[in-house]
């Protein structure tokens, strides 16, 4: 079946819904293609808040927010992106409020704000109240509010459609192919402009806060087509994953006064970040936790985790401001945070890297910023690069609305002067072939077993701490897994709701993004932000103050180009907190 819309957005999380809304406001005919029902998207899992210098609780300035973002990104952040972001996120938060978002309120009726990791006043002097929040379900409220607006504006949705191909010919984006889950039918979508907002890929790791569905589909599809992925070596581990499941416990818990402790009961962050302690950025805290465990100060019978202590906080603060994480701890661990500390360990959380874009979300294909006409990306799938080598807490939600909006507006304006491209059944060919191959295969390899090997090996060889030796080992493992992937077979040969087929396709995407990540990490011989090489422990601005663009040559073979970092207001300095 064929469909036609001026602007087609892939993904119905915060970035996708924002892009769709603003493209519609620009007058475009918009449709959203999503592999989930929109309200199932993982933006809904974001908890703590959305950072903006509203200054509702205390003095704050967008320049401070910009500085924190650049420093938090270990100076790999493009400063033009950080400036646009820190300014525009203020009006974006106000706009969300006008759309009806139920932010928590201060006694004077303004939006309430809390402290968060890496967000400071006066250029790093002390933590600042910047994260606007709705209890510990801010992402849930953003997702619900944006979807409500889409319902109001009658946006067209194709729910439970899995994109299997992006059609790019003569350097121009022309449309999409998607598998309808309900029927197994392949659909052809013609578009004047496409916005990719399909989220991240935490499922490459065994322990992750990410949904089962976050498998980097669109990153992998473009990468296979020869488009680059930017800064894939920078992957964030959130310090407080509920041990051992990896379910997210918001940094807002530390913003409200929570403390990390080791087996000796020590507040160990005092040693790693003397000024802002437990509210240091996530890369620092995650490494500190790993080091505590490695040096024998871990908790529990296996000494393999640390504790998040909230017991000194007033019970009403925990119940009112952190209700969801309190419930997670009670349900999944049987631990009541009011009475005892909660076991935590870092959990794979967020890809700083992704599809490279301009400040307006246009996808670029090289270090000269050459645009792919008609193709846009926003949110975690994209890399503008706002987050540089390490994202600050709350800046993901801000990123979604600021750059989702820019991508939506630009895509709609581009579509105004563009024509549709005639697509034919032939364009379904590649997708059909790939699906038939999996369905008809009699190979002995199984998706679940292969995926488990991938996730465990990525955890062992390419997570918080890295070495050249382990990364090289992982390069070889990935090559072998990709080879075995060609021999997978599935039980379900049916058409309707073939979720086993979907998982098989997703495993292919996971392998591709893992390849880009591991090769980029092996290539970058320095430590910066979330990329910590034990064999190259120092940041090396002379050689590595630049963005990686990874291009796939063939399975197991990747080549690199480099894009300069956009500097400006803030000179790179040693990063201490």
């Amino acid at each position: 079946m064929a469909h036609r819309h001026e602007v087609i957005v892939v993904g119905a999380g915060g970035a996708g819904l924002t892009a769709a809304l603003y493209a519609a406001k620009e007058g475009a005919d918009v449709a959203v293609v999503s592999k989930l029902y929109p309200t199932r998207s993982h933006t809904g899992a974001a908890q703590g808040g959305i950072g903006a210098a509203l200054g509702n609780v205390e003095e704050d300035h967008w320049e401070w927010h910009m500085f924190d973002t650049v420093k938090g990104g270990d100076y790999l952040t493009d400063q033009d992106a950080a400036e646009v972001f820190a300014k525009e996120v203020i009006e974006a938060v106000i706009e969300l409020e006008h759309m009806g978002l139920p932010f928590d309120r201060l006694p004077n009726g303004k939006i309430a704000q809390r402290r968060f990791g890496g967000h400071t006043k006066e250029w790093g002097k002390a933590p600042v109240h910047r994260a606007a929040h709705a209890a510990d379900r801010t992402g849930h409220m953003i997702l619900q509010t944006l979807y409500q607006q889409c319902v109001k504006h009658n946006i067209t949705f194709y729910n439970e459609f899995h994109v299997t191909d992006v059609i790019i010919e003569d350097g121009v984006a022309k449309g999409l192919v998607a598998l309808e889950l309900a029927t197994g039918e392949l659909h052809l979508f013609e578009a004047k402009a496409i916005v990719i907002a399909s989220g991240g890929f935490g499922r490459i790791y065994k322990v992750t806060s990410n949904a089962y569905t976050l498998t980097g589909d669109l990153q992998a599809i473009l990468y296979r087509k020869g488009l680059p992925l930017e800064d894939m070596e920078f992957y964030q581990f959130h310090p407080t994953g509920l041990y051992p499941l990896g379910i997210l416990l918001t940094e807002g818990a530390r913003g409200e006064g929570g403390i990390l402790r080791n087996a000796l009961g020590e507040r160990f962050m005092e040693r790693y970040a003397p000024t802002i302690k437990d509210l240091a950025p996530r890369d620092l805290v995650s490494r500190a936790m790993y080091l505590e465990v490695r040096e024998g100060r871990g908790c529990g019978p296996k000494k393999d985790h640390v504790l998040l202590d909230l017991t000194h906080l007033p019970p009403e603060v925990i119940e009112k401001k952190l209700p969801d994480i309190t419930e997670f701890s009670r349900i999944y661990l049987g631990v009541d945070p009011l009475k005892e500390p909660v076991p935590v360990m870092p959990t794979a959380h967020y890809a700083m890297g992704g599809i490279p874009t301009t400040l307006w979300g246009q996808v670029i294909k090289d270090e000269k910023n050459t645009v792919v006409p008609g193709l846009y990306a926003a949110g975690e799938a994209a890399c503008v690069s706002l987050h540089g080598a390490n994202r600050l807490g709350t800046n993901s939600l801000g990123d979604l609305v600021v750059f989702g909006r820019r991508a939506g507006i630009h895509a709609a304006r581009f579509a105004r002067d563009a024509d549709y491209h005639e697509l034919t059944e032939e364009h379904l060919g590649e997708s059909r072939e790939r699906i038939e191959r999996i369905k008809n295969s009699t190979g002995k390899e199984k998706v679940a077993a292969l995926r488990a090997e991938l996730q465990q090996s990525m955890m062992d060889n390419a997570s918080v701490f890295r070495t050249g030796e382990l990364l090289q080992k992982q390069v070889e493992i990935l090559k072998e897994l990709m080879d075995r992937y060609k021999r997978i077979s599935i039980d379900d040969k049916g058409d309707a709701y073939n979720t086993e087929l979907v998982e098989a396709l997703e495993l292919g995407y996971l392998l591709e993004v893992s390849e880009a990540l591991v090769h980029s990490a092996l290539n970058r011989t320095e430590s910066r932000g979330a990329h910590a090489r034990e064999d190259y422990p120092e940041r090396d601005d002379e050689n590595w103050l630049k963005h990686t663009l990874a291009y796939k040559v063939e399975d197991g073979k990747v080549c690199f180009r480099y894009k300069p970092v956009v500097l400006g207001r803030f000179e790179p300095k040693p990063r201490t907190y």
């Binding site: 989930l36 199932r40 993982h42 759309m99 139920p102 309120r105 303004k110 709705a134 319902v151 969801d324």
Partner: protein, 232 residues
């Protein structure tokens, strides 16, 4: 421990009516029912179909009838169920395959109550002000994840598909009691009509089923009162 997992399965391409399949699964007391379903799908029978996404109770994908009660598979632990566990699709919506139901009627009811802020007054430069007390007034409804546990546990919804159901009323409540909203009357037209709140017989199934602990029946009663008050 060994768990006997009984799943009500249905494949429209092969089955005339649903059939029970029984699986033996090795499990830990701390495993989620979702983990058991995954163990079956990944290592015993790949054709088993169900929805899931976040895996920790916030996306609303995996509401199922588990040991006779509507719950989220990712928020229900084996230790609370024992070693025989039955799983069926939620009731009152057409079954598409195994545990997957057609959610469209559910979302149509959601859309019918105009689930968005209605206020045409030009907004101020900054945020609209709202006191913490005004914000608290509609807090319960904001927790809703649209999982359909409440609506598909409602006996009125089972027998009368035109009833918009508890979830849609909870969504309406969230706006009716928001001090910034001006769309009360528009919603009352839908809520006060034949398929609206008066169908509710206060069975409390919805309240018991809600995985977010929303006092659903109470919110429905508040909407009923608001409609009555509005008439006088």
């Amino acid at each position: 421990m060994q768990v006997t997992l009984k799943v009500l399965r249905f494949d429209p391409a092969k089955d005339k009516k649903p059939r029970w399949e029984t699986y033996q699964v090795e499990a830990e007391p701390w495993d989620r029912v979702l983990d058991l379903l995954h163990k079956v799908k990944w290592y015993q029978d790949g054709s088993l179909a169900f929805r899931r996404s976040c895996g920790h109770g916030i996306c609303g994908s995996d509401a199922m009838l588990i040991n006779g009660k509507n719950r989220l598979a990712c928020k229900t632990l084996v230790r609370d169920l024992g070693n025989v566990i039955t799983v069926e699709p939620i009731r009152g919506l057409p079954v598409e395959k195994d545990l997957i139901v057609d959610m469209e009627p559910f979302f149509a009811a959601y859309r019918a109550v105009k689930p968005y802020l209605i206020n045409d007054e030009p907004p101020p430069q900054r945020e609209r002000l709202q006191s913490p007390e005004e914000r608290e007034r509609f807090d319960q409804g904001t927790k809703c994840i649209l999982c359909a546990s409440c609506t598909t546990s409602c006996p009125v919804f089972w027998v009368n598909g035109t009833y918009i159901g508890p979830a849609a009323i909870v969504q309406a409540h969230r706006f009716i009691f928001d001090s910034r909203d001006r769309g009360k009357r528009e919603r009352f037209q839908v809520l006060g009509s034949g398929g609206g709140v008066w169908r509710c017989r206060t069975a409390y199934n919805c309240t018991e089923a809600c995985p977010r602990d929303i006092p659903v029946t109470q919110l429905i009663e508040e909407v009923k009162r608001a409609i009555l008050m509005d008439r006088f």
